[in-house]
């Protein structure tokens, strides 16, 4: 509990509770349908992967705008490379491509001493451009064989009516949570974001920490893309567009402070749940889908106000 307050996750917990209560009161029959709940958990799980990576990067006091494009690029690679490489081969290569994107950007930020906002904006355009050129704007599909492949089923199937992505999320989130809170790497990651100079003076190699975090973030985004396509093996060039904005919003709603050094994995997941829930509830209410982005904006600002005042009350410098 103390831990949750300190890491700023409490706002997201309250947010989810309030949101569920309001949706239930407002639209019980529309919200609590199998269709809505299963869509929300599926897409919240996918967005949560991207958000967890984004949150880790924000905790190091950097930002990654390329996650949506990397998500798309990994997904497109996975589908497009399947015919020559097979499902497991293309999965591996797609993850490698994602990791490489993170590595290149991380190294550019750290070694070039460039603002990550600009470097990853470049990454966003570059990766998206590659998607356009590579696919030529056409749609690619998995063959029936590839769809039936055990790996595709493992990543995109379902169990007891719950999508595979949700199980993967639970497992990987638990690992990331442990990594962040209970290992030397996590301690150094938080130190890097909370006080880079102090961390360095204690011998922490903050540059390595940041590069590893960028790689981790891109890998998570890439894996999310692959999960999506295992579920629905069809690519389009806009795959993952604007996802960086959703991920950053979700991370902030989940309590990540852009000043670095504070945030939590649980908060990131709940933030993703809030963002996705709004999308589906608005659809369920029959509102035009374009309203969704406005609502995310309102929730985002409300969350920032809440989290900042919480931080001030706790005496954190923000």
């Amino acid at each position: 509990m103390k831990h949750l307050v300190r890491s700023q996750g409490i706002g997201a917990v309250i947010g989810v509770a309030v949101m569920l209560a309001v949706f239930t009161l407002l639209d019980f029959s529309g919200w609590w349908t199998v269709q809505t709940v299963s869509n929300v958990t599926q897409f919240a799980s996918i967005l949560a992967f991207v958000t967890m990576g984004e949150a880790l990067v924000i905790m190091t006091k950097e930002i990654d705008l390329s996650v949506g494009s990397v998500y798309g690029l990994a997904g497109v690679s996975f589908i497009t490379l399947e015919p020559p490489l097979g499902v497991s081969g293309s999965l591996l290569v797609a993850l490698l491509i994602a990791a490489l994107a993170g590595l290149v950007q991380g190294v550019a930020v750290v070694k070039g001493q460039l603002p990550s906002m600009i470097v990853t904006l470049g990454g966003l355009f570059t990766a998206r451009g590659i998607i356009y050129v590579w696919t030529g704007g056409s749609v690619h599909n998995f063959s029936p064989d590839a769809r039936a492949h055990p790996l595709t089923r493992l990543l995109g199937g379902e169990l007891f009516g719950i999508e595979a992505a949700t199980f993967w999320l639970i497992a990987i989130a638990a690992l990331l949570g442990l990594l962040l809170w209970a290992t030397p790497f996590g301690n150094r990651l938080l130190a890097t974001g909370g006080g880079r100079e102090s961390a360095e003076s204690r011998g922490v190699r903050t540059e390595r920490v940041k590069i590893v975090t960028f790689v981790l973030c891109s890998l998570l985004a890439g894996f999310a893309g692959i999960l999506t396509l295992c579920n629905q093996p069809q690519t389009h060039v806009t795959l993952g567009e604007n996802m960086e904005l959703e991920a950053i919003s979700a991370a902030v709603i989940g309590g990540c402070l852009l000043t670095g050094g504070r945030g939590s994995i649980l908060g990131a997941i709940l933030g993703a749940l809030i963002v996705v829930s709004f999308r589906y509830e608005l659809i369920a209410l029959g509102a035009p889908s374009s309203w969704y982005i406005t609502f995310v904006g309102v929730v985002l600002v409300a969350a920032v106000i809440f989290n900042q005042s919480l931080a001030r009350r706790l005496g954190h410098s923000v």
């Binding site: 300190r6 442990l178 209970a182 290992t183 030397p184 996590g186 301690n187 150094r188 938080l190 130190a191 974001g193 909370g194 006080g195 100079e197 102090s198 961390a199 360095e200 003076s201 204690r202 011998g203 922490v204 190699r205 670095g260 050094g261 504070r262 005496g315 954190h316 410098s317």
Partner: protein
Amino acid sequence: MTNDHPLIQVKNLDLYFGAFHALRNVSVDFHAGELVGLVGDNGAGKTTLIRVLCGIHAPTSGEVFFDGRKVEKFHPKLAIDQGIETIQQSVGLCDNLSIARNFYLGREPVKRILGIPFLDFALMREKSARVIRQFGLRDNVSTDDEVERLSGGERQSVKIGRAVEFKNRVVIMDEPTNHLSVREREHVNELAVQLKEQGLLVIYITHDIFQVHKLADRIVIMENGAKVADASTDAMTAEELEEVIRQGGRVVEKRETA
């Protein structure tokens, strides 16, 4: 003073911050088992000099030798691995982390479970509490508390306790008694002497001339980025020392001993 080769040898060190000439042709030796007072006006370059020694800044030109070997790469990790522990003046604690996490930052004790290194929280709490309490951390402050809420003196206690816990060959103290009460101050000063008697090199930066004159074997005075005096405390009274600093370092060459 010992006669064997110096533990740290600085030769013709120059350091620029952009166009600003922060260290000017500094040459100085430090020996094991020595307590050296480093004094000088605000902005004289004391902190900058020791930041080169502990790997934070790389010099623009000049050489540093540690234990006879030339230092090729400057990084705090390398200095720490060589056995240089530093109480920094303005950095060293991450506000967002607990006392225990700060205490062990960069050298966290781990327990392996399935080969994965997990932080050994029990040890981190217990040991950091035991050490820091000796330096005036009150009982109502827990080592789980974030450093952000600590007072200046409490923060200083954490830094000092940490340096003592990990002391190895060199302890550099940059104005260690800042923010400390009279009692803690005496404790730190006694500690500096003890460390030296254990054979460590202690470099002690302060503005308290009279205090450091009592403690130190040797005093190095800096002014405007340059070393202007380097004299054994036997060769110069505290009053003379104060006069030199006030004069901006003129007149002292005749007392040079090194």
